[in-house]
């Protein structure tokens, strides 16, 4: 398996990611107040939130650059949380 020799993110990358997160948050806050976006509001907010989530996990938590085993542990937890989420809501017929 390959080892090291690829560029780790620099401080500049972290600042750019922070800028991206700030811009996405500003868009998120604006979306609920634009009536024209009402039909796609929920989908749009979930997509924007997911984008922020993914970027923080991949770059700030270094999951993109780190051992694949760590990715596995976290994804297991995330998948489990999604299952718990679905089971609880389905049990109470919230869908």
């Amino acid at each position: 398996m390959a080892t090291a020799t690829h560029a780790h993110p620099t401080a500049k990358t972290y600042w750019l990611i922070a800028l991206f997160l700030g811009i996405v948050t500003a868009i998120e806050v604006t979306v609920p107040y634009i009536d024209a976006l009402d039909p796609i509001r929920a989908v749009l907010l979930i997509l924007l939130g997911s984008a922020k989530f993914a970027v923080v996990v991949a770059v700030f938590m270094h999951l993109r650059y780190d051992l694949k085993a760590y990715r596995f542990y976290f994804l297991i937890g995330l998948a489990g949380a999604t299952v718990v989420f679905a089971v609880v809501l389905a049990s109470f017929r919230a869908f």
Binding site: M1, G22, E28, P32, G49, K52, F60, Y70, Y73, G80
Partner: protein, 200 residues
């Protein structure tokens, strides 16, 4: 040799100490279990979001204020990753500045949450008002507790570093605390979207 674009599988901050990898694995497993925990709490909130009884519901949320708090917590992730970056380069002095900045931003977020809770109580939403109130305070309160624990860990790192007792191979290093802090941040990203923005 690694060609460009090859699959990378190495420890990001390998200190050469095998125990480091064990600790990091344990932290990721812990964060995975925390995802279960918050998944259950968020599901419970969604279940009871419309069960407001005689009390107020999501209309009392102050979105601009919570957005500002969210921005503060997001920026604390930036200062945290910059602290981690500085410690990796061996620049503990600069790293401490970023750690203190992260702790201050975390404290600001907590102060905002206390203010928000106080406002909601004045408007009639307490933990016993309705299932909506109970699930809301339990979810956001437990998240706040995680932030408070994070601030405590950051303060301990600063203290150890100032005393010259910090070591990357130590039981609690900046990278592990950073993972915890970023996790608290991503949980808030989900809470902000699901609990606040999707309810108004």
């Amino acid at each position: 040799m690694v060609s460009e674009g090859a699959v990378v599988d190495h420890d990001f901050e390998d200190t050469g100490n095998p125990i480091h990898r064990v600790r990091k694995t344990a932290m990721w497993a812990f964060l995975g279990s925390e995802a279960f925990f918050f998944g259950a709490m968020i599901s419970t909130f969604l279940l009871y979001r419309n069960t407001i009884g005689d009390g107020p519901g999501a209309e009392i949320f102050n979105i601009p204020f919570t957005s500002a708090s969210s921005f503060v917590l997001l920026m604390s992730s930036l200062t945290m990753v910059l602290a981690d970056n500085s410690f990796q380069k061996g620049d503990q002095r600069q790293g401490r500045v970023w750690l203190i900045g992260t702790a201050l931003l975390g404290t600001t977020f907590l102060a905002g949450q206390i203010f928000e809770f106080t406002e909601f109580v004045h408007e009639g939403l307490t933990i016993s008002t309705s299932p909506f109130g109970s699930s809301f305070y339990m979810l956001t309160g437990f998240h706040g507790l995680h932030v408070a624990v994070g601030v405590l860990l950051l303060s301990m790192l600063v203290f150890f570093s100032l005393r010259g007792r910090y070591s990357p191979d130590g039981g609690m290093n900046v990278e592990l605390v950073a993972l915890y802090w970023h996790f608290v941040d991503i949980v808030w990203i989900v809470i902000f979207t699901v609990v606040y923005l999707l309810q108004i």
